[in-house]
């Protein structure tokens, strides 16, 4: 089942046409990766999906982004519930300079979410779902910036969970991590796939090949090719795709 679908999505930064007629379908409970050379618009596309680009001055969009068949580009879209539904993990791990515990309860505080669960339980479950509970259960009060970068990145994912998103956007989530930590985050992504839909931007083609079900290849603001990951990496349809995955572009 498709959970996100863009129809002829165009985006301009002032005069600069950054996305051109992008049509991308994203399957529920799957991992979709977006690859392409630097500056081709991967982050831009990702940030349209939770409308984080709105913060940039002089931005203009046309087309449609359907999330569960609702066009989130329509005026009057509730950005608060959109962003609760579509969480984001950033390139650099960016926990707040607070305790592990407070980082996870931040979203609850903001949204004043009352639940039958105690805060302690929510923190525990969130940490468990990013496989961090055993490491941190005795360090809940310790400062998040004292964790390793990998733990910080997991914490940033855990921070989303109490808000109950369905979709997780990840913009190069492993680029600040070493190969071992990267491997472990990838395992986590597999784990999360059961409950969440993941869209990941990556420069690491091996990573895209390893983790994702579908892959989109972008070039100069266009989605050149979109297909099953296995197909893209073994038998791409477009010459540009082949050139890129065989390393003939940056």
């Amino acid at each position: 089942m498709t959970i996100i679908k863009t129809n002829n999505l165009n985006l301009w930064y002032k005069k600069f046409h950054a996305l051109l007629d992008v049509n991308i379908p994203i399957e529920k409970n799957s991992i979709t990766s977006i690859i392409g050379p630097s500056g081709c618009g991967k982050s831009t596309l990702l940030r349209t999906l939770n409308r984080m680009n709105d913060l940039i001055e002089g931005i203009r969009m046309t087309g449609e982004i359907l999330i569960e068949n609702k066009n989130i580009l329509l005026p009057g879209t509730d950005l608060v519930s959109l962003r609760k539904n579509v969480g984001m993990v950033f390139q650099r791990p960016n926990p707040f300079p607070l305790s592990v515990y407070k980082n996870i309860t931040f979203g609850l505080e903001i949204h004043n979410i009352k639940s039958n669960d105690t805060l302690d339980n929510i923190v525990e479950n969130s940490l468990k779902s990013v496989l961090l509970w055993d490491e941190l259960k005795d360090k809940l009060k310790s400062h998040a910036l004292n964790l390793t970068l990998e733990q910080q990145q997991r914490l940033c994912i855990a921070r989303l969970i109490p808000v109950k998103p369905q979709i997780l956007l990840m913009d190069e989530p492993c680029s600040a991590l070493d190969p071992i930590a990267t491997g472990r985050i990838e395992e986590l992504m597999f784990e999360l796939k059961k409950n969440y839909t993941i869209v990941v931007v990556t420069h690491n083609m091996a990573q895209a090949a390893r983790v994702s079900d579908d892959t989109g290849f972008m070039l100069l603001g266009r989605l050149v090719e979109f297909n099953k990951t296995s197909k893209i990496f073994t038998n791409p349809e477009k010459k540009e795709t082949e050139d890129y995955i065989t390393g003939r572009y940056g």
């Binding site: 939770n50 984080m52 913060l55 950005l79 608060v80 519930s81 959109l82 962003r83 609760k84 969480g87 984001m88 950033f90 650099r92 960016n94 707040f96 300079p97 931040f106 979203g107 505080e109 903001i110 949204h111 400062h143 910036l145 940033c156 921070r159 989303l160 808000v163």
Partner: protein, 281 residues
Amino acid sequence: MNSKLTQKIAFSFLFLCALITIAPVLLIVVIIVVNGISAISWDFLTTSPTNGMRSGGIFPAIVGTFYLAAGATVISLPLGVMGGIYLSEYSKDNFFTRILKLGIVNLAGVPSIVYGLFGLSLFVIYLKLGASLVSGCLTLAIMALPAIITATDAALSSVPQSFREVSLSLGATKWQTIRHAVLPHALPGIITGTVLSNARITGETAPILFTVAAFYLPHLPGSVLDQVMALPYHLYVISTQIPGISKSTTYGTALVLIAFTLSLNLFGIIIRTHLRRQKKW
């Protein structure tokens, strides 16, 4: 010349410069302490002046200065912080904002007597508040505002942009983001800026001269519309208008004023170090 020698000379020279800058401060403090310490007693701090201010204590002036400092803070802190939030988080970088910022920078440089006259004409005369505690607090608050706004603006701007992004991406509104993800991390800078600027203004004479300070008023104010005595003005009065006053009384008063200002500064610095220890990024 041998390079080690050059280095030695350079270091000595720099050290000398550092010494020259702090020597006057130390000298002033030493002179005041030496001459004034003998006047300090429990009675001096807790009784009213008597005998045409030649004897007795300075209690009403201490209380007056305390009220002025507290009142000015209560008024200037919320206004200044909100102004700083506007400048840092809401204003667009356009002509109007640049004029506003330029105005604030210039206000910080306006001589204190001008604030005094402004307070006199606006609060005392035009708003008919008379020479009173409230006029004095308002005048001092206006004088403190530029520093508080600037400190808030700077403290907010130094909070990493990523905090705002994360918070917004979690669905927080702009105000929630400022309130929960930005302001708490800017607090040390804001508090220090406020305390330091208010420590400075409590030592000023000019702004309170026409707006609140009483020449001689040996009792405490009954309402905010009463005048009060204040340490800086009292010091000015006893050192220029009262012939035959003992040297130790004048220096003792100066000592109390300096101690008041320095302890406010110290307080600000302690809060800052305490809050800084909790933040690291």
